[in-house]
């Protein structure tokens, strides 16, 4: 309770040993976390941003006492998660994306009440809070609906209410808007920031692979890839650090893949490409304007035509591109499982 830091990790590592079914002897090791260290002060909304397989869920599971670290340390509310998981659980709550928890034959209200009982809440207080939160997320009219009749979005709203119902000191949200429609995701993001405004002493750690979500919600983000933190700071600071370089978006026609061409141009520091029907869109970060001339010449020589060119303010996406070295949606080897 006394700790000023809600979360602290120190050189956190987690290795999974998987046995292949076909060849029992052959063991494979997956390094999910490769020395993660960060601190989250009380009252902060901290984001962990990274592509699939980066280690986000593993981080949350260790902090939420579902996994032990292979080495290193983690403290939640000042308590070591490895040595005293029971004590940690009094301080935390967790909501994951795509959750299918609860019992289908019970109503929304009943399911939420059931989970409140695992936290020892008094029934009357629990009921009042459930009603209040259902209203906030816009699910009041479904309070008496059995949950097997709920859509994915409604279910996730219910899961949010479950997570926030007990007003935990520290909340872990693991890709909470995963698979939701734009409107529902926006409602839930609004809910998170409002809740934190009303409960300024609470802390939220949120993982996401949606850049704009991290940008919009988080006071600070850690960008992780393959189990390592590549950058950490306020989104605005991370973007400002990029300002000395130029972010340029090119649209090129007549080519399907410009990667081999760009590879021949020196000092294009970072690069990502998105294919469209009629063109490819390329984001590049350039050390200076001179590089652009070289790049354009190379594209033309390779048979491409420049359709448009725009310089723009850096986004978190560019920060990611800069620190990770590849675009976000491009495969990076470590698939999710």
């Amino acid at each position: 309770m006394s700790s000023e830091l809600a979360i602290r990790t120190e050189d956190l590592r987690r290795v999974f040993r998987t046995r292949k079914r076909e060849a029992k002897k052959q063991k494979r090791e997956v390094v999910a976390l490769d020395g993660i260290a960060f601190e989250v002060p009380r009252g902060e909304l901290f984001g962990v941003l990274g592509p699939n397989g980066a280690g986000k869920t593993t981080t949350i599971k260790i902090l939420a006492t579902l996994l032990t670290p292979t080495s290193g340390h983690a403290w939640v509310a000042g308590i070591d998660v490895a040595t005293d998981p029971k004590a940690v659980r009094h301080h935390i709550g967790m909501v994951s994306g795509g959750e299918t928890s609860g019992y289908g034959l019970l109503t929304v209200e009943e399911n939420l009440w059931m989970f409140s009982q695992f936290y020892g809440m008094e029934t009357r207080a629990a009921r009042a809070r459930i009603r209040e939160l259902l209203a906030v997320v816009g699910l009041s009219d479904r309070a008496k609906t059995k949950i097997y009749h709920l859509s994915t979005g409604m279910r996730q709203k219910m899961n949010f209410v479950r997570g926030f119902l007990t007003e935990p000191e520290i909340l872990f949200l693991d890709e909470p808007t995963l698979g939701l429609d734009v409107q529902t995701a926006r409602t839930l993001r609004g809910f998170v920031s409002n809740w934190l405004r009303e409960h300024p002493d609470r802390t939220i750690l949120l993982t996401t692979h949606a850049m704009h979500e991290a940008d919009e919600l988080c006071e600070r983000v850690a960008i992780i890839d393959r189990g390592r933190i590549l950058a950490c700071g306020a989104p605005s600071n991370l973007k400002r650090d990029l300002k000395h370089e130029d972010v340029v978006r090119l649209r090129i026609g007549g080519l399907e893949d410009v990667r081999p061409i760009v590879a021949t141009v020196p000092s294009v520091s970072r690069f990502s490409q998105t294919a469209h029907d009629d063109c490819v869109e390329v984001d590049v970060i350039l050390a200076n304007d001179a590089v652009l001339t070289g790049l354009l010449a190379a594209v033309e020589a390779g048979g491409g035509t420049l359709l448009s060119l725009e310089k723009r303010a850096p986004t978190l996406e560019d920060v990611f591109l800069d620190v990770v070295g590849h675009g976000f949606e491009e495969p990076n080897g470590g698939g999710a499982s």
Binding site: L67, M94, Y103
Partner: protein, 275 residues
């Protein structure tokens, strides 16, 4: 956390987890067919056999009682032993572990809810069965009968609580295992005839399952004259063994759960869906 609030949370957890079984499970009306009519059909089949061979009328009572008690066994197998596995698949298990409550309280809630749910069915089977086949029952000692019945339930659900952690370790095979256990147990536990008919060795082996001794003791108390020559052990001894195994299963259930949780946190796959 103070001791008092720990206990408050414990009992609230028990009630919370029992709720889906006490209330929710009655909402799907198909249970009347699967859990009352099907067992009654099975009972009827045995009743006709016994009538055909002109067995004494008490045998009809054996069968009706066996039919009712088998409802508990099926509940333990399908809704206790395999339950944590299903909780894992739906994602509830992780939430149970993250919650600041006792996992034993969760299992206890399941067990009490399951007992309630099954008692509705068992009472229906006994009532309909007795009326239909005019079973002659002489209840000599209600408190002892009730004691044997409750001890059997505690032992049986204690076994289920223990198996639930073990089944998690089996993963997908749990379902096949349940299937595998269902028929042989209904045979060797003497659901439809006194277990002694199978010989002392099999009866002794089958006694590892509380339902065997429970049934035998209850039959002795309900049909004393008939069971005099058919009993396996005396009802007192059986009650003693049942009480002992009830305690043993609960202790083992607690151990198995703690072991499972430790293993799950270390291996990182036991709480994960589809693993």
């Amino acid at each position: 956390m103070s001791g008092r609030s720990t206990w408050t949370t414990f009992w609230r957890t028990v009630c919370g987890r029992a709720y889906p079984r006490v209330i929710g499970a009655q909402r799907e009306r198909s249970w009347v067919f699967f859990e009352i009519l099907l067992p009654l059909l099975q009972v009827t089949a045995y009743v006709f056999i016994y009538r055909a061979i002109q067995a004494p009328p008490e045998f009809l009572g054996f069968v009706v009682l066996g039919g009712a008690m088998s409802a508990y066994w099926l509940n333990v197998l399908w809704s206790m032993a395999s339950q944590l596995y299903w909780e894992k698949e739906t994602g509830n298990l992780e939430l149970y572990i993250v919650a600041p409550t006792s996992r034993m309280a969760i299992l206890l809630g399941m067990a009490l809810g399951g007992m309630f749910q099954t008692t509705l069915r068992a009472v229906a089977i006994i009532t309909i069965g007795s009326l239909l086949f005019r079973v002659p029952m002489t209840v000599t000692n209600v408190p002892v009968l009730l004691g044997v019945f409750l001890t059997t339930l505690v032992a049986l659900y204690g076994l289920g609580m223990m198996l639930s952690s073990l089944f998690l370790l089996f993963g997908r095979e749990a379902w096949h295992f349940s299937n595998l256990l269902q028929e042989p147990v209904s045979l060797v536990s003497g659901f439809y005839f006194p277990v002694r008919a199978l010989g002392q060795v099999i009866a002794a082996a089958a006694s590892a399952l509380p339902i065997t001794l429970g049934l035998d003791a209850m039959r002795q108390l309900l049909f004393p004259s008939m069971m005099e020559n058919l009993r396996f052990l005396s009802a007192d001894v059986e009650l003693g063994i049942l009480a002992g195994s009830a305690v043993l299963f609960l202790v083992l259930a607690h151990r198995a759960l703690a072991h499972f949780e430790k293993l799950a946190r270390r291996e990182g796959r036991l709480t994960v869906r589809g693993q």
